[in-house]
């Protein structure tokens, strides 16, 4: 072969292999960067609300974001079977969480100088609120009471509270009609006192305006609220659907024939609705939620979702999905 042709052939092979190597080193890099991005996607994915401290002012237009102190009414024999699961699920979403018991433990639980038992529930509440007032008043502006078998979606509570001023004497929950003329909030469904309401409760016991006149905790507290001129708030959403529930979801959402008020809604202050309109999408609480159901609700609220779905109820928008063109059956 002539030297010129030889050089040409060598050049051909050099060019080919050089570019081959070049291309092979670029492509794996692309694959690496894609999987890195995929990795990030995995981390950031759908978990924005499992780390609530990273989210600011999601609760709307109020300048002071609601800081909720959750206090859970519990006792030594429930820590393993119930309270443990509250701590593992929704307890984490509170600004601060306290577990109130008759015994101090490393759970951690706060010791209220009160024995366990149904007859002592109101004493426990009084002691708990006095404790919170003494040690935690500045740490929060709203105070939620819940049982160890209540499930709470704290973000939705924040959303409601963001519309109100915690320096006003306000009291929220599932409003019941009987016994108290302005009504009172169900204990099991969880109730919330504003900072001013808490101050007034404690003052009421100090001055003797409020007393331990009954062992029915939620009703008795409701009486003190009325005496101290704390206002009950209507916590239903803009479609009139309830947010706090003293029973699990299946006691309300199942379609029923029109019927007179069932037993579990006899006390309701506002006319209750059965079927899909019972409950707000942005639900706050359910009661009688034990172990497995705590995690089921956690999964359904914070994890399982329909990809790309435009929810019908979008409280921040004036037009709802119903009015738009849609696909599907």
């Amino acid at each position: 072969m002539r030297p010129k042709d030889l050089m040409f052939t060598i050049g051909l092979m050099t060019g080919f292999f050089t570019l081959h190597l070049l291309l092979n080193s670029i492509v794996p890099m692309e694959q690496v960067s894609v999987s890195v991005r995929n990795g990030n996607h995995r981390l950031n994915g759908h978990n924005a609300y499992t780390e609530p401290s990273k989210r600011n002012n999601s609760a709307g237009n109020s300048p002071t974001s609601a800081r909720i102190l959750c206090w859970i009414m519990t006792g030594p024999k429930n820590l393993e079977s119930r309270t443990k699961h509250v701590k593992a699920t929704w307890g984490k979403h509170c600004h601060k969480v306290l577990y109130m018991s008759s015994v101090k433990t490393d759970f951690p639980t706060v010791e209220l100088n009160v024995s366990e038992g149904r007859e002592n529930l109101y004493w426990k509440t009084i002691k708990a609120l006095q404790y919170i007032h003494q040690h935690h008043l500045d740490g929060a502006n709203w105070f939620l009471k819940a049982d160890d078998d209540t499930y709470v979606v704290v973000e939705n509570l924040k959303y409601i509270l963001s519309k109100f001023d915690p320096e006003k004497p306000l009291y929220m929950g599932r409003r019941f009609k009987p016994f108290i003329s302005q009504g009172y909030m169900s204990g099991g469904a969880g109730y919330v006192l504003s900072k001013e309401a808490l101050r007034r409760f404690v003052r009421g016991f100090h001055t003797g305006e409020c007393t331990h006149f009954s062992t029915i905790e939620d009703m008795a507290l409701g009486k003190c609220m009325e005496t101290m001129k704390v206002e009950p708030v209507d916590t239903r959403d803009m479609k009139g659907r309830q947010t706090f529930h003293p029973y699990p979801l299946d006691h309300y959402v199942i379609r029923q024939q029109r019927r007179p008020r069932p037993w579990n809604m006899i006390y309701d202050y506002y006319t209750p609705i059965e079927g899909p309109n019972c409950c707000s999408d942005l639900v706050v609480s359910f009661h009688y939620i034990y172990a497995v159901q705590q995690y089921v609700l956690e999964y359904l609220t914070y994890h399982l979702r329909p990809y790309g779905y435009i929810y019908r109820f979008r409280p921040d928008e004036s037009v709802e999905a119903d009015n738009k063109t849609n696909r599907g059956a």
């Binding site: 060598i10 050049g11 989210r55 973000e155 914070y302 329909p306 990809y307 019908r312 059956a329």
Partner: protein, 317 residues
């Protein structure tokens, strides 16, 4: 010397160009084909966020518009309450939902196959679904105690080509046979269904009626027939490798996770993008409608790349 250098350079340039052309030709494939798995690969995942972002707006819209699911629900009058629950809940999200019954019922409408045998009934239903497919290219077969989230099914198959044979769900191995468990729902692409309907004509490979001596459950029989046509079962999974199709209920799976992952119950359990759960009672299905399509914490935006609107005339989603 100079002319030799020149030749070398010319050669190098030509060699480089040649290499480039070859690799471009080698790697060129439309995105749908490159997403088609080797069907012995056994695991099928949705397109990643990046892959979806690489698609043009118009292409995405095109895929979204073409993607329709035909739901085939096998009912019987003896489980009327489940039938009614399916009708009132998840099937409203199918583009087409057809109920096939073993015998007619005065209470609810369905296509009466007048057939007591489970496999023969499935056989007839699938044939009917294929013949009446219209423009629909994806089929989801379920039993009435299964709850499905059709939006998540669409997300899974969005970039998959239905002209390829897909047979997806929760795969189980029984000896040599890998099949999709009926309980968790069965997904068939148009091509898979087409091949199935063709092999139905072969009574040796795929008899309409099984011998009394050797009866396979209908989901196993389906796998056997499909295998003859070169279609293999594949497990539907999310980006973490978690199964999307579940043959048990949420409560059951969470309960198991409490035993196995006591410190990480929810994350150790089920996928965020799960498509099916089974053994759901009618009341549990109504609860699921609320839990899936309504219950959520305020303040989170996912910025999903697809959008699905709620179905018309429905009030529980």
């Amino acid at each position: 010397m100079l002319s030799e250098r020149g030749s070398f350079m010319k050669g190098m340039v030509l060699g480089g160009v040649f290499c480039l052309v070859l690799s471009l030709l080698g790697s060129f494939s439309p995105i749908t084909e490159s997403k088609t798995e080797d069907h012995h690969h056994h695991h099928v995942k949705a397109a990643s966020k990046d892959e979806l972002q690489q698609l043009s707006e118009s292409r995405l819209q095109e895929l979204n518009n073409q993607l329709q699911i035909s739901c085939v629900i096998m009912v019987q009058p003896k489980n009327l309450v489940y039938w009614a629950a399916a009708l009132d809940t998840w099937t409203k999200h199918c583009d087409k939902a057809e109920f096939y019954t073993s015998e007619s019922s005065k209470a609810l409408e369905a296509i009466d196959l007048n057939e007591k045998d489970d496999w023969a009934r499935l056989h007839k239903a699938l044939k009917h679904a294929y013949e009446n497919a219209g423009n629909i290219r994806w089929f989801f077969v379920a039993q009435p105690s299964t709850f499905a989230i059709i939006e998540n099914l669409k997300y899974l198959v969005l970039t998959k080509n239905p002209e390829q044979p897909f047979y997806l769900g929760k795969t189980v191995k029984s000896g040599e046979l890998e099949y999709v468990e009926f309980n968790g729902g069965i997904v068939l692409s148009y091509e898979a269904l087409k091949r199935l309907v063709n092999v139905f004509q072969d009574e040796d490979k795929c008899p309409e009626r099984q011998s009394a001596l050797w009866k396979l459950s209908e989901d196993k029989q389906l796998a056997v027939c499909l295998k003859f046509t070169g279609v293999f079962a594949e497990n539907g999974e999310d980006v973490h490798g978690k199964g999307l199709f579940n043959s048990r209920s949420v409560d059951n799976l969470i309960s198991e996770s409490m035993d196995q992952n006591p410190n990480n119950v929810v994350k150790g359990c089920c996928s965020d993008m799960a498509i099916t759960f089974s053994s759901m009672s009618p009341n549990q299905m109504q609860v699921m409608m609320f839990g899936v399509y309504r219950l959520r914490p305020y303040g989170h935006d996912f910025q999903d790349i697809l959008t699905f609107y709620p179905p018309k005339g429905s009030d529980n989603d």
